[in-house]
C-alpha cells in the first residue's frame, strides 16, 4: 500500500466479467440467457421429477434392481381398478355436465337481463373458492342429521338419505358438488367467447327471422368450439387432479366408493410408503391424460372454425 497505482492494474481489465460479456451477446443468445432461470426451474421441478418417477416405477419396493412388477400389479390391484372406475365415471359425467351448464348460463347471462352483473358474479363465485372450502361447505349441506339438504327434505316429509355415508350415493353427491364448482368457472370462458362473436351475425339472424335456439345451434355453438375444446381439456384434467374434497369429506370411503386415482396415489406413496408403485400408477394416469387430450384435439379440430 505504499505506492498505490492511479489506474487499475491491467490484469483486472482483461479478466472475464460476466455482466460485460452478457452485454455483448447477440439478441437470440441474450433471450436464452434471460430464459435460463425459467429453464432451470422447469428442469428442476418438472423434468427431473418425471425422470425420477420413470426410474422409480421400475424398482422393487425393497432393494435395488429392475422390475416391471409395479405395472403388472396394476391389473390385479382391486383398489386401483375401483379408483380407476370411479374416476372414469366421475370425469365422464362431470365434464360434459359442467360444460353444458356453463354454456347455458353464459348464453343466458350474455343477454341484457336485469341484475346481469350481480348474477354473473353469483354464478362465478364458487370458482374463486378454494376446493377445501367448497368441501367443508358441502359437508354441511350433506350432513345426514343437521345438514341443509336433509333439513329441507325432512321438513317436506321426504326421505333423508346419508349422502356421503351411503356407498351408492357418495360418488353422485360429489359429482354434484364438482359441477357446482366448475360450471361458474367455465361460464366465464364462454362469456368471453360469446363476446368475441360478431354481433352482426345475430342481427342477420334476426332480420332473416331465425329463432333464438336455431341461431344458437347453427351460429353461436360452432363458433364457441375453440372455447369448448380448451374448456374440455381443462375440465378433464381438473376432474382427475382436483381431489382435495376426498381428503376432507370421505377419505375415499365408504367401501372405497369415493376413492379417486390421485387420492389413491397419495395413499400408496405416503401412507403406505410405496413410492415405486405410486410412480407406476402416476405414469399410467399421465399417459392416459395425454392420450385423451390428443384425441380431443384431433376429434374437435375437424369441427372447429378458427377465425
Amino acid at each position: 500500500m505504499t505506492d498505490a497505482p492511479a489506474v487499475a492494474p491491467p490484469t483486472e481489465r482483461s479478466s472475464w466479467n460476466p455482466l460485460r460479456a452478457a452485454r455483448k451477446l447477440p439478441d437470440a443468445g441474450f433471450a436464452y440467457f434471460l430464459l435460463l432461470p425459467a429453464f432451470i426451474f422447469l428442469a428442476l421441478f418438472t423434468v427431473k421429477p418425471l425422470i425420477g418417477s420413470i426410474i422409480a416405477s421400475t424398482q422393487p419396493r425393497r432393494g435395488d434392481g429392475f422390475t416391471l412388477d409395479n405395472y403388472a400389479r396394476l391389473a390385479t390391484d382391486d383398489v386401483f381398478l375401483k379408483a380407476l372406475g370411479n374416476n372414469f365415471l366421475f370425469s365422464l359425467i362431470t365434464v360434459p355436465v359442467s360444460l353444458g351448464l356453463a354454456m347455458l348460463l353464459a348464453v343466458l347471462l350474455h343477454q341484457n337481463v336485469r341484475g346481469r352483473g350481480f348474477l354473473r358474479a353469483g354464478v362465478f363465485a364458487p370458482a374463486i373458492l378454494p376446493m377445501v372450502a367448497v368441501a367443508v361447505i358441502w359437508m354441511y349441506f350433506y350432513q345426514p342429521n343437521i345438514g341443509v339438504i336433509n333439513s329441507i327434505l325432512g321438513a317436506l316429509g321426504l326421505p333423508t338419505p346419508d349422502w356421503l355415508g351411503d356407498p351408492g350415493l357418495v360418488l353422485p353427491s360429489l359429482m354434484v358438488m364438482m359441477v357446482w364448482k366448475e360450471a361458474g368457472f367455465f361460464m366465464l370462458f364462454y362469456l368471453a367467447g360469446l363476446q368475441g362473436i360478431d354481433p352482426e351475425l345475430e342481427e342477420a339472424s334476426r332480420l332473416e327471422g331465425t329463432g333464438k335456439f336455431r341461431h344458437f345451434w347453427k351460429v353461436s355453438f360452432p363458433l364457441l368450439m375453440p372455447t369448448t375444446l380448451f374448456a374440455a381439456i381443462v375440465a378433464l384434467s381438473d376432474s382427475i387432479k382436483m381431489v382435495d374434497f376426498v381428503f376432507v369429506m370421505t377419505q375415499g370411503g365408504p367401501d372405497n366408493a369415493s376413492n379417486l386415482l390421485l387420492f389413491y396415489i397419495y395413499k400408496v406413496a405416503f401412507a403406505q410408503h410405496w413410492p415405486q408403485f405410486a410412480a407406476a400408477i402416476s405414469l399410467v394416469v399421465v399417459a392416459v391424460l395425454v392420450a385423451l387430450a390428443l384425441i380431443q384435439i384431433r376429434l374437435m379440430d375437424r369441427k372447429i372454425h378458427y377465425r
Binding site: A22, G253, D255, A271
Partner: protein
Amino acid sequence: MSSPIRKKLLATAGAALAFAVVLTGCSAPAQADEEVSIEFYYPDQVGTLGTLIDGYLKEFAAEHPKIKVKGVYSGDYDQTLTAVNTAIDGGKAPALAIMDQTFVLDLVERDAISSWDDYLNDDESKKWLDGFYPQFMKNSTDSEGHVWGVPFARSTIVQYWNKDYFTKAGLDPEHGPATRSELLDAARATQEKGGSKYGLFIPTSTGTAYWLYQALVQQAGGDGAISNADGTKVTLDTPENVKALEFWASLGAEGIAPSTEVAWSTSTDDFLAGQTAMLWTTSGRMGTIQDKATFDWGVSALPKDVAAGAPTGGGSLMLFNEGVSDKQREAAVTLAKFLTTPERAADVSVKSGYIATSDAAWNDPAMVAHVKKFPQAIAAHDAARDAIPEMSTLDRDRVVYQTLAPALQSVLLNGADAKEALTKAQADITKILAEHK
C-alpha cells in the same frame, strides 16, 4: 434488444445478487455449541391433547434450557405417519414422535425407529419402563422382548349411555348393559319408550372399523387380536369372526343404528345431540363428552357376550433414526421421560380421559382427587384390565384400511355376505403379507 435497456436489466440483476449475498451473510446461524435442538411431532386424535402438550413443552423448556424442542402438531395419527415418512425421505426425521402403537411393525421393518432398551440400561430407567401396564406394552414389544414404544396417550373402547333416555325407557340409568341381551333390550327400549332416534352407534368409518370389530370378535369368543404378534398372519375366517360381523350388520338392518356409515368423527357429536342412546367409542373422548354433554351420561366397559374385552388403542413415543445425532437422541429420551412421569400421565388422564398408564399414575394424588369428583374415570381404567392388543400387521395401511375396512363396510353398508367378505379379505391379506417374508 436495445443496449440501454439491457444495461439496466443487468445492473438490476447485479444489485439483486449483491443484496442476496449480504442477506445470506446476515442469517448465518449463531448457536451456542452445547445447546441441542430436536423436533418432536405430536398428533391429537381427540382435540384436548394439543394444548396439554404445548404446556408440557413450556415446562420442559424451563427445566432443560439447553434442549430446544420444536414441537410440531401433526394432525391425527395417519397424518403424523405421512408427515414422518416425508421427513424420513427428506433425510431429517423428528428425534421423537407420538405415533399410533400399531405403526411399530412397519417402522421396524424399514429400520426407521430404534429400540428403547439401548438407551435405558440403568435400574431407574428399567423401573420406569416396567411401571407401565403390560397390556399397554404389548403392541410396542416384539417377540424378542425389545421395546419400541413408550405408552403416552392410551385408550380402549368403552360404552357411553344417555341416562335421560334410560330413565324415560324405564331402565336403570346408573348401570349400563352388562351382557349382549341387556344391550339389545336397552337399545330397543330407548328407541321405543325413551324417544331416542337410534339405540346404539358402533362407528363404521374406514379408519376405525377394524378396531371396533376387534371388540366384537373378542366378545363372540374369537381371537380379538386378529393378527399375530409379528404381524405376519391374520385370522378372519373363523365362525366367531363371521358371527361378530353378522351381529354388527344386524344393528343397521333392524334400525338400532343407521344402515349407512356411522362416522367416527361425528359419532360423538351425534351422541351429544341425543341422536343415539348409546355409543361405543374410545375412552379418549370422555373429556369431550364431560365438557359438552347437556344431559347425564354413564360410561362402562363394553358388555360381554361369550367373552369380554376390547382392544387397546392410542399412541406411544418412538425414537426415529434418520438424521438424528447421538446428542439429539439423548435429548429425545430426556423429553420422553419428562412427558411420561406418573404425575404427567395422571394429568393427561384427568384432562383428556386417556387411561392412566401405570399404577403410579393411577395412585397419583391428582388422579385420586379426580376419580373422587368424577367416578366415571374408573370405567376406562377397569375396561383396560381385560384389554387385548390392537390389530397390527406389516403393510398395515394396505391390510387394515385398504382391505379389511372395505370388506367390513361391504357387509355393514352394502349387505354383502359376511362369510364371503371375510374369506376374501383373509385371502387378500395373506397375499399382501406373503410379500414380506
